[in-house]
Assembly symmetry: C3
Homo-oligomer: 159 residues x 3
Amino acid sequence: MTEKKKTNIILFSGEYDKAMAAYIIANGAAAYDHDVTIFHTFWGLNTLRKDEKLMPKKSFMEKMFGKMMPRGAEKLPLSNMQFGGVGPKLIKSVMKKHNAMPLKDLVSMAQEQDVTLLACTMTMDLLGIKEEELLDNIELGGVAAYIAEGEEGAINLFI
Amino acid sequence: MTEKKKTNIILFSGEYDKAMAAYIIANGAAAYDHDVTIFHTFWGLNTLRKDEKLMPKKSFMEKMFGKMMPRGAEKLPLSNMQFGGVGPKLIKSVMKKHNAMPLKDLVSMAQEQDVTLLACTMTMDLLGIKEEELLDNIELGGVAAYIAEGEEGAINLFI
Amino acid sequence: MTEKKKTNIILFSGEYDKAMAAYIIANGAAAYDHDVTIFHTFWGLNTLRKDEKLMPKKSFMEKMFGKMMPRGAEKLPLSNMQFGGVGPKLIKSVMKKHNAMPLKDLVSMAQEQDVTLLACTMTMDLLGIKEEELLDNIELGGVAAYIAEGEEGAINLFI
């Protein structure tokens, strides 16, 4: 057990705005010297997918899930004001004007600040997402990993 | 106050995947010897409804709410990829193939592990859900019950 | 640092039922003598908007966001059973019959109980929401303000 305060975020949601909130809090907590972990589970795992189209060996269902789910941070929809795909473009153009970081840069920043990015193995198994489809330097773990960190957390959030 | 660590989950959402996440975390925390409570409020209450069609005395509005809301864990929709009702079937068939427990078994497992399942009385009152419509061994309580547990919680989540 | 226990709620969501849950927990915690803060970010900021149509100087995009987003607590949609706008009316009529407080009264009650209502400055900046469009006595802050409170929180929730 470290003396640093811990922040543990479960990122369940697969929406751009919710993932942004998760990463802004994670980066903020890391800047305040917390030991930060983001547990990506269910749709939250899409944030960690690589942009490229990879072709690992998959079953039919796994291929289908892989196709239907957004490939990486910048492809996520909004939880609100999606407007058939126009919403994310509007928000991103506004963010650019205000010099706010896009989600993929928030993810890189988190990695530079040593935020632990963890992918839920149960979700990977169910949805057929392979390790090589994820960004580099992602740890893998299950609910036991979460409980071990969560019970020491000063800030625990489910997003 | 017990010496065990506490995990308190507010289950507000009425979706299959979110309820699954809540129950997987609850069962995981119980396995790590936490004292676990799930507070079912608003749409989260639907997870606790019995499968059967019961006919308690109700007002017109209460009957309508009762009809429109899913009756029990296995009838909940998904928060994502619902596809007009096909999504939950797909996910459940994939879960079966991977020997992952369906939600109703996760609920039974939680009860066997002495996870406290609590139904929010305010929600029951507003939506006209009667105690006999809920699974057996459900405790009833309000926000005061939550604060009392929550302020002692090592892990507190809102799902 | 005060000796009181702290409850910190991030209200990210812009739905009536989720905001209700946030404010019911906040008022409950305040009644149990917690030091309570609600951090309104992203769509959660709409809860704090004044009902009136104000005309601060805005860019085209800011005007558009201002128009499309609900102006104040009583205009928020539901997260479930929205039914093209009928849902909120149904729920509110049921709430009235059961003497449950509407959201705007829960907000006033929170202010009377000295719950700190904080608006996220990044969101205000991005969506072009000006201070004069918000209710009175709202504090402004960013992620640093949240981390400072959150790391001392007995109850931390993301809604």
